[in-house]
């Protein structure tokens, strides 16, 4: 077999069977994944199901702190977890560009398997296509995530009230900044890593708490876009405190150099929660004790004093955080 993906790997024949058996099934095997069947049978529980769909096109496909394989699991399970579901199953669509090294594909699928194991999800079915060189960008993944809804959770932006507190589970902008470091065009280097991770423990740790209004994972568009979502959904103002925002010095430096702001950079392993003021410290203390939670912080308030997304600067001044309109850094997830 060639060391690179060829068009024949997508032809439905022997090469494709080898690819599926030697790469995908080898790493992703589990009791529900049956490569001989066109559909998977999922066990039913007496709980409502939640489902989500996601696509992954990140470039480069391997970046500091992760790769497109682990990212596609994290991105999918996080969408379920912040919505109050326990992620269980994932379906996987794969589009590979002719010429991709098999070793590279093996590496990202192995990393996908590890991330799935850690998140407690099974890849239950998949599909593989190969497109001619130049018509793709190494590899794309499309996933569907399925999970059982936690019966105690009913999050909605409608529950958000003035006085509520906004928390983030860790540092801001690491994924976006790490992708910039990894892109050769900027000629930068550093030790910063993407925050790509599942946030299941952060979400599940507060499912039982009364007073959690809403959660969201601040991926594309960053924390600023999530705050704008809250603002638009509720009509209330958002007051964010720059001094409380956990941001790595490296992220600040990269942003200064390239003219970005950390608040608009993607995160792939963080949760933003809006909670009743009375439980904010409790949530913070729970989160801080979790792995990767040491930088969790209460970063702002919901307010009826104005109707904008306002940043209280470290210096004590105020400015608005605009809604993202341009796309400075495409293909980050």
């Amino acid at each position: 077999m060639s060391n690179n993906i060829t068009i024949s790997h997508g032809n439905g024949g022997k090469h494709m069977r080898h690819l599926i058996e030697d790469v995908f099934a080898k790493h992703l095997t589990n009791d529900l994944l049956n490569t001989d069947s066109d559909a998977a049978l999922l066990p039913l529980k007496n709980q409502q199901l939640m489902t989500t769909v996601d696509g992954f096109t990140v470039q480069p496909i391997i970046f500091p702190g992760g790769d497109i394989g682990s990212l596609c699991i994290h991105g999918t399970v996080n969408d379920l977890a912040v919505s109050g579901a326990i992620p269980e199953f994932i379906t996987l669509g794969v589009i590979i560009e002719e010429g991709l090294a098999l070793d590279t594909l093996d590496k990202v699928v192995k990393s996908m398997a590890e991330a799935a194991k850690e998140a407690g999800v099974k890849i239950v079915c998949g599909d593989t296509k190969v497109v001619p060189r130049g018509q793709g960008s190494e590899v794309y993944f499309t996933t569907t995530g399925i999970g059982y809804k936690s019966s105690v959770v009913d999050y909605s932006t409608k529950l958000i009230k003035p006085g509520d507190k906004i928390l983030i589970s860790g540092s801001i902008g690491d994924h976006g900044a790490a992708i910039m470091l990894a892109r050769e065009q900027f000629g930068l280097s550093g030790s910063l890593k993407s925050d790509s991770a599942n946030v299941i423990s952060f979400c599940q740790s507060v499912y039982e708490l009364e007073g959690v209004r809403f959660m969201r994972d601040p991926t594309r568009g960053g924390i600023a876009s999530v705050l704008h979502e809250f603002n638009q959904a509720t009509g209330y103002g958002i007051q964010m405190n720059e001094a409380d925002a956990p941001i790595h010095d490296e992220v600040i430096t990269i942003c200064d150099m390239l003219g970005y702001e950390p608040y608009y950079l993607a995160n792939e392993g963080r949760v933003v929660a809006v909670v009743e003021a009375g439980i904010a410290e409790q949530v913070l203390s729970i989160w801080k004790k979790l792995p990767n939670g040491e930088k969790a912080s209460i970063i702002g308030d919901i307010t009826d004093q104005h109707q904008q997304v306002v940043l209280q600067t470290e210096l004590g001044g105020e400015r608005i955080m605009h809604e993202l309109s341009d796309t400075p850094l495409p293909r980050i997830c």
Binding site: G259, H306, Q307, G316, R319, S325
Partner: protein, 378 residues
């Protein structure tokens, strides 16, 4: 701690007894961003006005140069490269025609944004069978690396469409006008790094305007603001360097040598402003073979050169000169927003309108907050 230092300078400014209104101009988009991002306007006494002046190279890049770049991209078999900001700047043609380099790209032209001048060399080397035109607009800070690149030798297939400008002549022009519109100057940090702080001495000696060079942290900006206010109060004027980490006497001699070797200083057009004497760079004769203006001279169209022209209804010219604040333009935030820019100041990251749109309170939605004072004071 730079935050503590910044707070220290802020306190000192607020402790000053300022008898009257004082207008302080900055001439660098980076400075305007520092002021806006840190919310400095909302923290200063009401009689201090901070005015963004001519500090955005994209904003003053002549319309005829952008038009030329678009025509070359559309009609010649070339790869046209430019700094990303330039791609969205509209020229004054009807909406049916191609108005921006971005639209030229959508129409099939090979237009590529770059982040560093050096990328021009690698694109030229990677595409040796094609002609590459580098549309190089910028102030001294971006023009000097272009000069270095030229001096070190360009690939045969790389041509430069140079639209470089010097900063100080625009300030001199304002100061020599009937209404300069400012009482103190924050001089640009990076330009001073390249050209030397001495370039700004004339503001004090000839025009008796307090001047300080600032960097791009709030601390350095506030130190510079405090300096010019003290100079004004004490009547003791001196060119203060509040960015000593990188601004040194004489500037960067190597960069200046490259500029001198490869370029001539010429009278040039500034969009919305007009011809300013000795305010721009042109390639020296010895590099004529790489000068896109000469190599593609059939495209030069002097009839396009109309002094002071901005799109209809757009007040970018007044914004660039510090005559009005961005949100005093009729189009600001209505027809002209970052997604649908009409004037160049709303396009560039260095443009005052773009910076204000990203950071300043919106009039319509603002309730009475501390920062709304900014709007009311205008």
């Amino acid at each position: 701690m730079s935050l503590n230092n910044a707070k220290h300078w802020l306190q000192k400014i607020n402790d000053l007894q300022l008898p009257e209104k004082i207008k302080i101009m900055n001439v660098c988009g980076g400075h305007e961003r520092t002021i806006s991002n840190a919310g400095i306007r909302s923290l200063l006494p009401e009689n201090i006005e901070l005015i963004p002046g001519p500090g955005c190279p994209v904003c003053i890049c002549p319309e005829e140069d952008i038009f030329l770049a678009i025509q070359l991209a559309l009609n010649e078999d070339v790869i046209l490269i430019a700094f990303g900001d330039m791609l969205q700047v509209p020229v004054n043609v009807s909406k049916k025609e191609v108005r921006t380099l971005e639209q030229a790209r959508a129409n099939g032209a090979d237009v590529r944004p770059i982040a560093s001048p050096r990328e021009a060399i690698s694109i030229a080397n990677d595409n040796s069978d094609k002609k590459i035109i580098f549309f190089a607009a910028g102030f001294e800070t971006t023009t000097s690396p272009v000069a270095a690149m030229i001096a070190e030798g360009l690939p045969e297939n790389l041509f430069i469409l140079l639209s470089g400008r010097l900063t100080w002549p625009a300030v001199a022009m304002l100061l020599e006008s009937d209404e300069p519109g400012f009482d103190a100057l924050v001089a640009p940090g990076h330009v001073s790094t390249v050209m030397g702080p001495e370039e700004w001495q004339f503001v004090i000696e000839q025009h008796h305007i307090p001047t300080a060079i600032a960097g791009f942290e709030a601390e350095s900006m506030l130190a510079a603001l405090y300096s010019v206010l003290r100079q004004k109060l004490d009547g003791h004027l001196f060119l203060d360097n509040c960015y000593q980490e990188v601004v040194h006497d004489g500037g960067n001699k190597t960069a200046q040598r490259y500029l001198n070797e490869t370029m001539d200083v010429t009278d040039n057009n500034w969009r919305g402003i007009g011809i300013i004497p000795k305010s721009g760079f042109s390639l020296s004769k010895q590099y004529a073979a790489h000068d896109a203006r000469l190599v593609f001279k059939d495209y030069s169209d002097d009839s396009r050169r109309r002094i002071g022209e901005m799109p209809a209804g757009c007040d970018c010219a007044k914004v660039v000169l510090g005559k009005i604040y961005p949100d005093q333009c009729r189009l600001y935030g209505t027809a002209c927003q970052p997604e649908t820019p009409i004037g160049p100041c709303m396009v560039s990251d260095e443009g005052a309108c773009h910076i204000w749109w990203n950071t300043a309170p919106r009039k319509s939605k603002t309730k009475k907050t501390k920062s709304s004072r900014l709007v009311e004071s205008i």
